[in-house]
């Protein structure tokens, strides 16, 4: 024999052994790898798209605003604000913005639009994209309007036609494709129309009660510290009911808004990844179980505990690395779909780039998740005795309690930290981890109890096939726990997502009762209300409500003036209470969306002083007041003493006019006020006819056709639910892969028994029936547990998040549940067919060895 040249077997040998063993176990490891690919792809695609969106918003922040910063207010700026603007060098452009009805004489159509009267060369950054192109340069000079391109298309309007806004009629210079400062979502309800500022007064639309925004645009020298400017001026302007917005703060705010949505989607993706991890754990559990004899032999040959452990750890980490790379690549490809999926919901055009940190995260996630979730089965290699190599019967390995606890803590800590990174709130992360622990525990508990119950109440008098199939569920090396977990978690997720979508959509729907209004007429002046009501009635339509509205601001809260409260840094009162111009109504009874929470409702004030008013519970909470507290209001210059007489619960989700503050009758009747009238129109044609008449006679009245608004909301929700469904598909597919993996890996345990049964004379049909029944039991148990759990979670969501009643849809029970059972059955049986079709010995040789 040759002379021994020795070296210390280090990592290279471990890698060599991992490779040798791994290449022969490729198929089994591939399934394990596949479990995480989709989860990682989901997380990476959303994370990467989120980063790209944030970068694009930041890059295009100036173009989004059209200026470096702006000062805006909902009333004409006072002298102090004017002084501040002068000290800044004066505004370079100004704008007056409000919603109003617009009429298009040529097409005889009317439409609620956002009128933007502009003076100066706004925008300074970005551009007004118009068709024809030069319309953006001409409209100011020619005294023309630029009308939203979609509206022009919908109503068949061409450049050269005219638009009537209030009392002024202007020619249309062109179609407006894009304008800084108009969000896509708001544009769907009230599309923008740009006109020269000088025509605003002529339109006669700036009246009492009109909701008008005054905006002043500025450019700043390069290197101006926007944050400092914001910090210095915003508090001063705030006190004067004005605001300063810089392009950076606006883009930050926008970024945060989309980030929140991204976080939600990321969580859905993360759940898909966790589901994949259940797959890893179950695949590795069975994989390692098959390897324990080999580990014992290696130990006999002199390998240490650490060496044998590391061989398989390296295999798992390598598979995780490959899974991470494939998942990341898939995620990067998938993110190209997001701009298309989110079309119309995004504030900017997103240019997709590959983000290195996200790529790194995806790959690292693959390795970390694989290793973490494989650790529990892997520690079995540490505790397997080499004596197992001598024994014919396999003994269960006893794992160290300490190691099990350490691994469990490691897994939950990782989930907590990763969700914390996604959600940036430890309470939500804790709730998320808690939810996962509870869900997994309940499912594991269901599986355990089921097995215990089967053992205790086993139906010994059943036939052979039925008994065998039940025996399979609780005998040693059964797959009940693994499959109930995989099927249960998958069904739970899909079903919860489905119910949540229902909750979201239910919130936006209009009750279809006979008397529910579907058209709201805003800004009806007191002297117009009778004439407007008459116009409605002459069209054979009912006036369902005539709601008086008085605007006012809060002056004192519980004896303390708001100016003092603003300065008080310890005050808990929410800022909006102090600055908001409230639109208040008065009436003698509650409406359907209201109920009294505390105190007593007062119908008529009579001579009671202070006036007992009713406040909504969110006002009470934000203003830190309750029944008996005094409030003073400034009603357009007149101070009015009131006391909180009652607190109401208001269902804000109903599509009707709800109010934070309601006065009793007999107080505000003589205050300057305007009215909101509602009616119910039967169809599109009647609606258009009424709108045309109203706009012609009362140009200041804004009309909201709730059916149009609803169709916009439905469109937005449809898109959002599309994306949620898209993400849910990752969970579904991951669930299927996990299922495939779990059943496939358990195949190697089952084949020997099935072959033995065949050898003993069992017919192919009997074996098929045994397996079919077993998979039906598992599918029913996992699927039903998942759907029932999702009922609980959706009910909790309805209570805690959506605050609305929850009526479960039957779809998860009638479609999802049977679908899952069928899927489990098909996948399960496809494995059994190989046993039935081939001779027993051939199967034994091929599969078991």
């Amino acid at each position: 024999m040759s002379n021994n040249k020795t070296f210390k077997p280090g990592f290279s040998w471990l890698f060599k052994m991992a490779w040798r063993d791994g290449k022969a176990s490729g198929k089994k490891l591939t399934l394990f790898m596949a479990s995480i690919v989709l989860g990682i792809a989901a997380v990476v695609s959303i994370q990467s798209f989120g980063e790209n969106l944030k970068d694009n918003i930041s890059l295009q922040s100036k173009a989004l605003m059209g200026a470096d910063y702006k000062i805006d207010s909902d009333k004409l700026p006072n002298e102090r604000v004017m002084q501040i603007m002068d000290s800044l060098g004066g505004a370079e452009a100004r704008e007056i913005k409000f919603a109003s009805m617009a009429a298009f004489p040529q097409s005889e159509a009317t439409k609620l639009m956002q009128v933007r009267g502009i003076e100066g060369r706004f925008p300074f950054y970005g551009e007004l994209e118009t068709q024809p192109k030069n319309a953006s340069n001409r409209y100011q000079e020619e005294g023309a309007a630029l009308v939203d391109a979609t509206v022009m298309l919908q109503l068949g309007i061409k450049p050269g036609d005219s638009i009537k806004i209030g009392k002024v009629t202007l020619p249309i210079a062109g179609a407006l494709n894009e304008v800084p400062g108009s969000t896509a979502m708001f544009s769907s309800v009230a599309p923008p129309v740009l006109i020269p500022y000088r025509f605003i007064e002529e339109s006669g639309l700036v009246q009492t009660g009109s909701r008008i925004d005054y905006e002043f645009y500025f450019t700043a020298p390069p290197n101006t510290d926007m944050e400092k400017l914001d910090e210095t001026l915003d508090p001063i302007l705030d006190a004067e009911d004005a605001d300063l917005d810089t392009h950076t703060s606006t883009s930050d705010r926008l970024g945060r808004r989309y980030e929140n949505f991204g976080k939600f989607l990321n969580l859905v993706a993360f759940i898909a990844l966790l589901l994949g991890c259940v797959g890893i754990a179950s695949a590795i559990h069975i994989y390692i179980k098959e390897k324990l004899r080999a580990v014992a032999v290696l130990k006999c040959l002199g390998a240490s505990k650490k060496q044998t452990f590391l061989i398989y750890l390296i295999q798992v980490a390598f598979m995780g690395l490959i899974g991470g790379i494939i998942g990341t690549a898939l995620g990067l490809v998938l993110q190209q779909l997001f701009p298309w999926l989110l079309e119309g919901l995004l504030p900017v055009d997103v240019e997709i780039n590959f983000s290195l940190p996200v790529i790194f995260m995806g790959i690292l996630l693959g390795i970390l998740m694989s290793v973490l979730f494989a650790l529990y089965p892997l520690i079995g290699t540490l505790y397997i005795s080499p004596l197992q190599a001598l024994r014919v019967i396999k003994e269960e390995t006893k794992k160290s309690r300490k190691a099990i606890i350490l691994v469990s803590v490691g897994i939950f800590l990782f989930i907590f930290l990763f969700s914390l990174w996604l959600l940036e709130d430890w309470r939500y992360s804790l709730a998320f981890v808690g939810g996962i622990i509870i869900t997994f525990s309940i499912l594991a508990g269901v599986a355990y109890l089921f097995m215990q119950a089967l053992r205790k109440y086993f139906p010994h008098n059943w036939g052979f096939v039925a008994r065998q199939s039940l025996l399979n569920l609780f005998r040693p090396q059964n797959q009940t726990l693994t499959l109930v977990l995989a099927i249960g978690v998958g069904t739970f997720l899909i079903s919860t997502l489905y119910f949540s979508k229902d909750l979201l959509l239910a919130q936006a729907s209009i009750e279809s009762q006979a008397n529910s209004p579907n058209m709201i007429l805003l800004d009806v002046q007191s002297d117009q209300q009778e004439a407007v009501a008459r116009t409605i009635k002459t069209n054979d339509l009912p006036v369902l409500d005539n709601i008086p509205i008085v605007t006012m601001r809060v002056q004192n809260i519980a004896g303390k003036p708001v100016n003092e409260i603003r300065k008080d840094t310890t005050s808990q009162i929410n800022g909006w209470i102090l600055n908001h111009e409230f639109r208040v109504t008065y009436r003698d009874s509650l409406i359907a969306s209201e109920s009294i929470e505390s105190g007593e409702w007062t119908a008529e004030a009579g001579d009671i002083n202070p006036v007992p008013i009713s406040i909504s519970n969110n006002f009470a909470e934000d203003a830190k007041v309750s029944v008996g507290d005094e409030l003073i209001f400034n009603v357009q210059g007149v101070l009015l003493n009131t006391v909180v007489g009652s607190v109401r619960t208001v269902d804000w989700s109903r599509m009707q006019l709800n109010f934070s503050l309601v006065f009793p009758k007999g107080v505000l009747e003589d205050a300057p006020q305007f009215h909101v009238l509602t009616t119910k129109v039967p169809g599109q044609e009647k609606s258009a006819q009424l709108q045309q008449e109203l706009v012609k006679e009362f140009p200041n009245v804004s009309i909201i056709d709730l059916r149009q608004v609803l169709s916009v909301i439905e469109d937005i929700l449809a898109r959002i639910s599309w994306i949620i469904n898209f993400m849910a598909f990752f969970s579904i597919f991951t669930g299927i892969i996990v299922l495939l993996g779990a059943i496939r890996t358990s195949k190697y345990q089952r084949i020997r028994e099935s072959v033995l049964l065949r050898t003993l004379g069992a017919k192919g049909k009997q074996i098929l029936n045994i397996n079919a029944l077993e998979y039906i039991y598992l599918g029913v148990l996992g699927g039903l547990s998942g759907v029932l759990l999702s009922l609980i979670s959706s009910q909790l969501l309805a209570w805690l998040v959506f605050e609305s009643p929850f009526t479960p849809s039957l779809i998860p029970f009638l479609v999802l549940f049977p679908g899952i059972v069928l899927l489990v059955l098909i996948i399960g049986l496809s494995n059994s067919l190989s046993v039935i079709r081939k001779p027993p010995l051939e199967v034994l040789r091929k599969e078991v060895k």
């Binding site: 040759s2 040798r20 063993d21 006999c300 390998a303 080499p386 001598l390």
Partner: protein
């Protein structure tokens, strides 16, 4: 001649449900270097348990085992693994080849664990010696039972162990193949000068060794020195 294995007052029991089963009791014997030694007895007599204890695969309840100059009870699991790698070879009844490794890789593993750079070369030589020079890249599932046991013999002798434990080495083979493997085992043993301990209930095989230890009910009933 020096003693390579010295077993004193060995006892071992396993718990089975609520019962405590005494598998071995009052076991005393010693084995000289380069001798061939057979442990025989009926099924359940404790042969395999004794082999496992002697090779350091398990720990006794009481008593001591001195193997190759080391007191096993003083060694931790990894130290015992090292001792096995350095001094011990194994042949199992069901061959116990690593199914995912080729014949050559199986033979090379113990050498690689020793850090031997020529593992592959030695492996090829040994496989050629046992008549499998043309099947070195075959996986265990592609070999017959006799061929698998020959690979196992090559693996057992690859590190030139001081002592070789064989657990029913021909138990899973037909008579003809079993005899060939037996012959190979003794030939290799003679050439390497290894101490050989065979657990078997094949009396014919036991008779070919220099010493027979007979077990019954976990106790030694005969400790017979022979002169072959």
């Amino acid at each position: 001649m020096a003693k390579i294995l010295n077993v004193r007052n060995l006892e071992k029991s396993y718990s089975s449900g609520s019962k405590n089963l005494k598998v071995l009791q009052d076991i005393n014997f010693e084995v000289e270097e380069q001798k061939t030694f057979a442990i025989v007895g009926p099924s359940g007599s404790g042969k395999t348990t004794l082999l496992g204890l002697c090779a350091g695969l398990d720990s006794p309840d009481s008593g001591s085992i001195n193997l190759c100059g080391s007191e096993l009870s003083t060694l931790g699991e990894d130290k015992r693994a090292l001792l096995r790698n350095k001094h011990i070879g194994f042949v199992f009844q069901d061959f116990q080849l690593l199914p995912t490794l080729t014949a050559l890789e199986n033979v090379a593993v113990p050498l690689e664990l020793q850090g031997n750079k020529d593992a592959s070369k030695i492996g090829k030589e040994l496989l050629t010696k046992v008549g499998l020079g043309d099947r070195i890249h075959h996986y265990p599932s592609q070999l017959s039972g006799g061929e698998q046991q020959r690979v196992a013999l090559a693996r057992a002798f690859s590190t030139r162990p001081s002592i070789l434990f064989a657990d029913e080495p021909t138990g899973n083979l037909d008579t003809e193949t079993g005899q060939k493997v037996e012959q190979l085992l003794f030939d290799l043993n003679k050439e390497a000068g290894t101490t050989l301990i065979i657990v078997t209930h094949d009396l014919e095989l036991a008779e070919k060794t220099q010493h027979i230890l007979r077990l019954k009910g976990g106790r030694i009933v005969e400790n017979q020195e022979k002169h072959v």
